[in-house]
């Protein structure tokens, strides 16, 4: 088992005047960050990797964190820690990349010490929907997939050509269904009486 340690040296300064370099808004619910404390964190992986420096602003509305001492901020989050530099910095170890997120922090400059959330894509309507379901792995399914891939790449002209070809094949399939039925058996013509 790979055990790494994250050694953090926290330098706490108050407010935007103390190294707060955020320029973009954080979004709803976290505007209060500008008035919060900034925490400078040094993360080092004792296995081999040189220290990585990140800046973690403590979100203001975390109960019991904003305005608190460094000890109070990490107490109960990372377990044992050692207070150094007269209480202005702390060192502590957590296994691997255990979430320093528990501090109520947003990681800046792309240093990630926790698993991020996944995003979502919008649902869209397939323009090649037809009146009956087609087998995705069949010839029509492959044509549809190829055409939709062109559409997703923004290649409209090529998509139009592929779509036209798809609809021609679909019409042929529909005619076959009318002749042979959905199960591939020939549908008998009505007998004149």
């Amino acid at each position: 088992m790979r055990i790494a340690a994250i050694v953090m040296g926290l330098t706490i300064a108050a407010g935007a005047a103390c190294g707060w370099d955020r320029t973009s808004p954080l979004g709803p619910g976290v505007e209060a960050c500008a008035a919060a404390q900034a925490v400078r964190v040094i993360i080092s992986d004792v296995d081999a990797v040189p220290a990585v420096v990140g800046t973690l602003p403590v979100v203001a509305d975390v109960p019991g964190v904003a305005g608190q001492t460094a000890e109070a901020a990490v107490s109960g989050v990372v377990g044992d820690f050692t207070s150094v530099a007269g209480g202005r910095a702390l060192t502590f170890a957590v296994p691997g990349f255990a979430p320093v997120w528990g501090l109520g922090c947003v990681v800046t400059n792309r240093v990630r010490a926790y698993a991020g959330f996944g995003g979502v894509t919008k649902h869209d309507v397939d323009p090649l929907l037809s009146l009956f379901d087609i087998w995705d792995a069949g010839p029509l399914g492959e044509m549809r997939r190829a055409a939709n891939q062109l559409r997703s790449q923004g290649n409209t002209a090529a998509f139009d050509v592929a779509a036209a070809e798809y609809w021609r094949a679909m019409e042929a399939a529909e005619q076959r269904r009318q002749t042979f039925g959905a199960r591939g058996k020939r549908v008998r013509a009505p007998v004149d009486q």
Binding site: R22, S24, P25, L26, G27, P28, G29, V30, P57, V59, D61, V62, P63, P99, W101, G102, L103, G104, C105, V106, V107, T108, R110, R112, Y114, A115, G116, F117, G118, G119, V120, T121, K122, H123, D124, V125, D126, P127, L128, L129, S130, L131, F132, W167, M170, E171, E174
Partner: protein
């Protein structure tokens, strides 16, 4: 010594024979976990070891147990479909304990997965799927995406039926495909914050769907969002709620939230 070995062998043959005679309905379960595990589970449910081959005795024991263990829920899922209705109480008690924060999900699991042996996504009505999607309870992101996809597929089926009822034999006439146009309102609603207008869009295709009040879900999301950002709600706990947050916010606002959480920038 020889007689001891013989006795052990006879015992093994006897036990093996008994195990081989487990009720046939448990065969998929046996295939999955092995005969020994199935017998162990049945015994844990209070079934005497000499009755594990008798389905009627197993069912009597399950019904007699007033405080069913989770394993009883597993046993019920392998009983013959015709026998399962009497175990509704066992299944409901289990789901209430297992999914305390997902009552709507638990209700659908009991109704479809347990009592009918079918996936809720296959068998639930459009009305139930909409209630499930908009219920003020936890839901993971993959389940939300599955639910939305199923609703979109249902919309396609309903649109096809509508077109057939209108006597339209084939979709594309003069280069115009009316099917996507019919499905579009549903897809637009699925992409809207809190799926606004979803019920109307489905009703427009002929589905029977009641309006759902979203206020409770919105309130819940309003509590969740700052807790996730602050870290008060840890990643594991948040994962169970993310799906519903995505429903309430809609894809654009949700992706912005994710970027804020992941990168702290909010940049798209």
């Amino acid at each position: 010594m020889k007689s001891m070995v013989l006795a052990v062998l006879v015992g093994l043959v006897f036990v093996g024979g008994a195990l081989a005679d487990l009720p046939a309905c448990f065969q998929p379960w046996v295939n999955a976990v092995g005969t020994g595990s199935v017998v162990k589970s049945l015994v844990a449910c209070g079934v005497p070891s000499n009755s594990v081959t008798d389905l009627a005795s197993i069912e009597i024991c399950l019904l007699a147990n007033t405080n069913p263990l989770p394993v009883a829920f597993e046993v019920v899922r392998f009983l013959p479909l015709a026998d399962r209705a009497q175990f509704r109480g066992v299944a409901e008690a289990f789901c209430a304990a297992r999914y305390p924060q997902q009552p709507e999900f638990g209700r659908l699991i009991v109704k479809y997965d347990v009592l009918q042996g079918v996936s809720l996504y296959k068998a639930a009505t459009e009305d139930e799927l909409v209630r499930y999607l908009l219920a003020a309870e936890n839901m993971r992101l993959p389940e939300v995406e599955t639910c939305k996809r199923v609703l979109k597929d249902r919309a396609v089926c309903l649109a096809r039926m509508k077109l057939r009822a209108e006597g339209k034999s084939f979709v594309v006439k003069n280069g115009v495909n009316p099917l996507p146009d019919k499905v579009l309102p549903v897809v637009t609603a699925l992409n809207a914050p809190a799926c606004a207008g979803l019920e109307d869009a489905l009703r427009g295709l002929g589905a029977t769907v009641q309006d759902v009040d979203r206020q409770a879900l919105r309130d819940l999301a309003a509590v969740w969002q700052p807790k996730m950002l602050s870290g008060e709600m840890g990643p594991t706990e948040a994962a169970f709620a993310l799906g519903k947050l995505a429903v309430v916010l809609g894809p654009d606002a949700y992706n912005h939230f994710v970027d804020v959480y992941n990168n702290g920038t909010g940049a798209q």
